[in-house]
Symmetry: C2
Subunit: 603 residues, 2 copies
């Protein structure tokens, strides 16, 4: 059975040594109260809650699943009580504005919290997680009246939220949405249609559920330009947020899924349900992107969480399980066999998981600073730059971290051998749960098109050049033009990284040129391009972590063994993982003919 | 819901065009009866059985699972009746000697059958599949008396077989086996111990179950040199195979697993059970290798089967599901959107599955000829060469085809988007079922050590050189030193293939040298080396298939569109999949330090 122990040493390393979050927070007057002590206290307390409350329900929740009975959904045993304690302890209100009852803390801290809740129990995390997206969307696009009506209870967590996009005939292609909205006389709308795959769409954790729904007004333009966004509560409420009668919203069924079984995935039917227009008419998709961008970074945490959980469990197993002798001779002659951690291939599987989960968490901590700059910076230029960079990085975070998270989960299971396939050990649940992460909230292929088609081609590569310049500047700053001790320590990371960043720019430039008359190359190259970009971004993080660790060792500060472990993992990353860029950059640059030439009927 | 339609066009292409099985069979006097007509008839009839009988039970079997009640195991609804029809139709007796009631057909044909039963319903296939291994082991190592006692009923399928190796404390490391065997006065043995993870260990399909059990005699040498092999029937039998009283063999429980739920995985307890020594004392592991090698090739079929099933289902979905427009403009302007098969990334996922499932099947058909040569050739040298080559290829088949099979299954699911995660579509079952294939019967890491440590290093690369020479000779024969039409057609496959075969030899030579003083490199390089080898082997198959297809087109024979599809897939393979050798050959050649240097405590 898997358990959860928050990686506090890694978190503190990222907060203090690598990204200096205290200095970052000190830049913003709104965050004056967030002292380093308070920050550490929040992190520790959250770790404690995740370890004691959330993790113990992870496996039982998978085993029991959610129950559906005549339109009512009940969550597995213990979820309701734990959710209550979760909101009472203030974990849901953490990063919402004080005006609506939140604690006014930054989003970066919200993501740090979610990184822990995700690893401890992703299915549980889905319920408050969806609410975060709904709150953000109402904050960004709602009227003052709507904010007053819905946000206080949502921020408190007594109400939850959903994102109602998908219908049976369309998921990715939201232009096909058929749910209808008709204006009522009182300024509200009557919403009719059926939505599927609605995470947290129905459950017993909160008094009310606020659905954020895409629907089509009469005579709206066809396709995505004719979709509007609506707030549709499960139970109608007064302007002050008091519960009134039930709205015409019902749950038709919940899905029987491969994993995340404690998270209810509902069919939600709207039958002339009362809704309220959110944002301008026919601009629903643009408004929904607020929700989607938040959720996409959130989903990347599912990937990292799975990698971390699989790593921890398989590491423990690898130290205990005795099998065969080391290739170089017995290491534990008094034991019947050596623990499998002596075997190179087992170590490689463990180090791959370590490199991905720790490197991935660094990518998130890097990106989180940008969310704070967007929210709190007084300088428009800084805000805009942060927004553009986060826009570039979001599809990479979502797709790269879920794909590599799935890989890590499978490696963890592989370390367990046949025992990993048995429910009891919990390893196969990690694999089943994380498998959804590359599918929902924009599948990997969609993220890849967003990256290459939108974030690269539509900016003519500008945002990428800015990011590359930053990495090259880091490499220049810390590399040494000699093979002295310091050079030896960092050049082995910085030189291959800088070389590949230059190649990244060159490849991007060529792809942009090719895309002018071979449009299909955008699609044929995109997924490999995204993964390629991910390995470079993660390489940047490992170089930064190695640099910080070297500085700490040189200054004789902290736990030397911990810092050395970071440097060793960086070495592993650059020797064994980073070279994947070779194959990816080879295949992504090929013309699309070998993919496009074959007729559909000839497959 | 997934269904099964046997790939008869691919099978006929492999049998007749690529590998000329009729000519192959004609070489052996024992196979004179196996005319091309009979061969085709058997294949068609088997396809029919798989489509109509096995496939319909695949999803229901997963849903229902096996039942355990006080030591008795019942298989899901329909399995017992279908198994009865399976053995009555002669599918189990196909490739056993006529002397024991078999049909005397070659193993190659047995594998062709199993390739179909595996894809249609792997869980069902486990029951007869394990029996095949048990029969082979008794055939190879049993006394005449033992053969007479056990084989007729096993060949008929009225009794089944198992392989009892694993115990709670050991799976891979069989030197730790603790099950004990004591000699009885009558020449039999009393077996006591507990075995876990016994596939088909207990069920209701047959009248008796013949366990092949590893156990330790008193005063046997420690480790693997002190293990003997025993035949232990669930129910005792007379010398003529009549059922007598129950033996002291009981089923303690069955496992709750991620997948292959219709296949019972049992804990089998032997409590002074009567057993019969199979082969010489203390040579049990060597004898068991007969079983394991058969089962390893069988398991590779699970990988290919999953790839094929996922490919077929996702191809159908990709032609039907309408989402977004092609990047180059609407392809079906009358429809609400284009079918997703127009999108390059979807095509890439489909073509990857196609290349792996068809390329993998070719690898099996290639290897199957070797099994016939071992069984039927009159020439000792031919037998020995075939045995050595099959020994080299077996770990590649097992690990490479299950790893890429798992990749393909996941790609199939990815094509379905969120719908692939829902039980109803059957895609997630394919992923769950095939996940075990890289774990059991020697995990990927074990196959990799077998390949590099045993098959390469212990022969000083001899067997590999023979195989490489064969591929190079093929490349020489069909490549053209000019860029005329014929050259253009084949050189694009043959040149990169030949170049990489030379690199394979070079890399192998360097690894052998390095292994002299860096023993850990055998472990650190092994998995990447195996996957690298697999891509070359599969490349050889795609080059062969392209060559055959080109010949057929040039001769204006058969269905041109079919042959062109093969050539297009070969092009895709060499452009998009084969370049994976770049990253693999980079990382596998690195020294093991970055893996070995980090202390276990510093992970």
């Amino acid at each position: 059975m898997t358990s959860y122990s928050a990686p506090l040493d890694n978190i503190r390393f990222l907060i203090h040594d690598v990204f200096d979050y205290p200095k970052h927070y000190a830049k913003f007057s709104q965050l004056n109260d967030l002292t380093p002590d308070l920050l550490d206290a929040i992190i520790s307390e959250c770790a404690n809650f995740c370890e004691k409350e959330l993790a113990p329900l992870n496996q039982s929740g998978d085993h029991e699943g959610c129950h559906f009975d005549e339109g009512k959904v009940s969550t597995p045993k213990g979820y309701k009580q734990t959710y209550q304690r979760y909101i009472e302890a203030g974990w849901q209100s953490l990063s919402y504005p004080e005006k609506f009852g939140g604690q006014g803390l930054p989003d970066s801290l919200g993501f740090m919290r979610t990184a822990m809740t995700s690893t401890a129990n992703w299915s549980f995390n889905m319920y408050p997680g969806l609410t975060i997206g709904a709150v953000k969307t109402i904050l960004a696009h709602g009227s003052d009246e709507q904010k007053k009506q819905f946000l206080p209870n949502m921020c408190a967590g007594t109400w939850s939220g959903t994102m109602c996009l998908t219908e049976a005939q369309c998921g990715t292609d939201l232009g096909q949405v058929q749910t209808k909205a008709f204006a009522n006389d009182d300024g509200s709308y009557a919403i009719t249609g059926s939505k599927i795959f609605i995470s947290a769409g129905e459950h017993d954790l909160t008094d009310n559920i606020i659905h954020i729904v895409l629907a089509r007004l009469p005579n709206a333009p066809k396709g995505t330009r004719g979709i509007s966004l609506f707030i549709v509560p499960k139970i109608n409420t007064s302007k002050n947020g008091e519960l009134l009668e039930s709205n015409h919203v019902s749950c038709g069924s919940i899905e029987d899924k491969m994993g995340i079984k404690a998270s209810a995935t509902a069919v939600i039917n709207f039958d002339n349900a009362q809704g309220f227009l959110l944002g301008p008419e026919n601009k629903g998709l643009e408004c929904m992107f607020t929700f989607m961008n938040t959720i996409r970074i959130g989903t990347s945490l599912q990937g990292i969480g799975a990698a971390e959980a699989a790593y921890k469990a398989s590491l423990e197993y690898a130290k205990e399980r005795l099998s065969m002798r080391a290739l170089t001779g017995k290491k534990y002659p008094d034991k019947v066999a050596d623990p499998i951690i002596v075997h190179p291939d087992v170590r490689k599987m463990l180090l791959t998981q370590k490199a991905i989960s720790e490197g991935g968490l660094a990518m998130i901590y890097y990106a989180c600073k940008l969310t704070d700059e967007i929210d709190f910076s007084q300088c428009d230029k800084t805000k805009k730059q942060a927004d553009e960079k986060l826009g570039l990085l979001t599809p990479i975070l979502k797709a790269f971290l879920t794909e590599t998270g799935f890989e890590s989960a499978n490696l963890g299971m592989q370390v367990f051998g046949g025992h990993g396939y048995i429910k009891e050990t919990g390893m196969e649940q990690i694999v089943r749960d994380v498998r959804i992460s590359t599918l929902y909230e924009g599948a990997t292929g969609i993220q890849a098109l967003d990256l290459l088609g939108r974030k690269i081609l539509m900016t003519k590569g500008k945002d990428l050049r800015v990011f590359c310049a930053e990495i090259l500047s880091f490499c220049r700053k810390h590399s040494v033009l000699s093979s002295n001790e310091h050079g030896k320590r960092m050049n082995k990371f910085l030189w291959p990284l800088a070389k590949e960043v230059l190649a990244w720019q060159k490849h991007t430039f060529i792809l942009m040129l090719k895309a002018n008359n071979k449009r299909d190359i955008v699609g044929s190259a995109s997924v490999e391009y995204l993964m390629y970009s991910g390995y470079i971004f993660m390489g940047y993080m490992w170089a930064m972590m190695a640099q910080s660790a070297n500085e700490k060792i040189a200054a004789k500060q902290g736990d030397k063994a911990f810092y050395q472990s970071k440097i060793r993992t960086a070495e592993f990353y650059f020797e064994r993982i980073f070279p994947r860029v070779k194959s990816l950059s080879t295949t992504m640059m090929k013309n699309p003919e070998s993919i496009m030439k074959i007729d559909a009927e000839m497959f």
